[in-house]
Amino acid sequence: MSETQDQYTFDFNKEKAEILRDGSDELSIKIGDFAGPLDLLLFLIRQEQANIFDIPIARITEKYLEYIRLMKTLDIAIAADFLVMAATLIEIKSRMLLPRDPTQATEEEMEDPRQELVDRLLEYEKFKTAAGMLHERATIEQAVFTRGTAETDGDNSEVDASVFDLLTVFQKIAERHKDEIKMEIEREEISLADMIRSIKRRIFDEGELSLLKLFEEMHSKHELVTAFIAVLEIVRTEHIRLLQSVTFGDIILRKGESTA
């Protein structure tokens, strides 16, 4: 992902389309490399060179809201988390502006309104650093390679093929076989009449005949053509049915029922 380079030149409309695809969580990174409101807040505190234990809440709140305004046009789900923080900041800011009630306040009750936020920031920062450590470890780990998985019966996926697939492969083999046929040295000429007779005999003896098988048996182009014409002739003159179970599949010649 290359979103980091574009962080100052982002186009809201374009970003929005990407957000929809990636989900809301990645958005914060795209718009400026912030993983969340706490991350943004830490960044602003650093940028203002402020002390985390004595956050200049007015200045930081102002900066934070400036940023939120920039983000506001974006995805609502993500903006919500940032808005909660904005509300928290404003609340802290106003509490700090209020004069303390001198009648009620004992030492303990006069807790700094910023304390809870500081605690959260410090807690968050630990995990942010831990995330950085994980990133480093993963990078080192990617430079280490183990042996490839040995081939065992376990990784051999079973043959997943339909009858049609098998037939297709079979026909390809048959075709290749035909291509390989060279000029026959002993050339035995067979007449159309002989061919018709021989095919007819096979059909009537065996009940049916595979065309693919028949054509494969032919040794030359001449024989192939003769066989083809013979088949056409047989179909025309005899009670023969042509069966094809699959489109482009093998064709079976079957002896017809002796109807009229």
Binding site: M1, L122, Y124, L134, Q142, V144, A150
Partner: protein, 196 residues
Amino acid sequence: MSEEEISQEEEIAVEPKAARSPAELVALVEALIFVADEPITMRVLAEVLEEERDAIRAAVEQLAAEYEARESGLQLREIAGGWQIATRTEFHEEVRRFLKTRPSAKLSIASLETLAVIAYKQPVTVPEILEIRGVQSATSIKTLLDKRLIVAKGRKEAVGRPIQYGTSKEFLVQFGLKDLSELPSIEDFEDLTQGL
């Protein structure tokens, strides 16, 4: 890394039960680690070879030391509770060129943060992660689940019985950790960040 521990323990007396010489045992251990698909534990090695755990330990450490001593292209590493033979990091460019692989997509900052929270706070629920990160982590959690870096670890007995997440063995493998205790303590990060 484990190199430091190796030299001290080399002199542990090895008394092979079967009539195996220590060198033979080292060779056998190497053979088994080589064929294993995953990091292989001492326990499994001891079982298969019918040797004492101490003898196995000595053999593994001897082997690691040998790889180290001859500046082999391979290293013996202790990962996810087991031992593994892997290439040395310094050869990654050449190995990658041969394998024609590129470094796999890195996790986003959001996902890394979520993973860090889960690794240190496990078992931890989504609301607890939200509490620390201050942002919804649903997408990151899905990414981490898809990459098998985290696994659901039952439900918390609280309102809504939310699912608790923890890191997986795959996490240890991908981040090169022997076990979770090898992660630096989260308090160390506190010192680190306070120092800034």
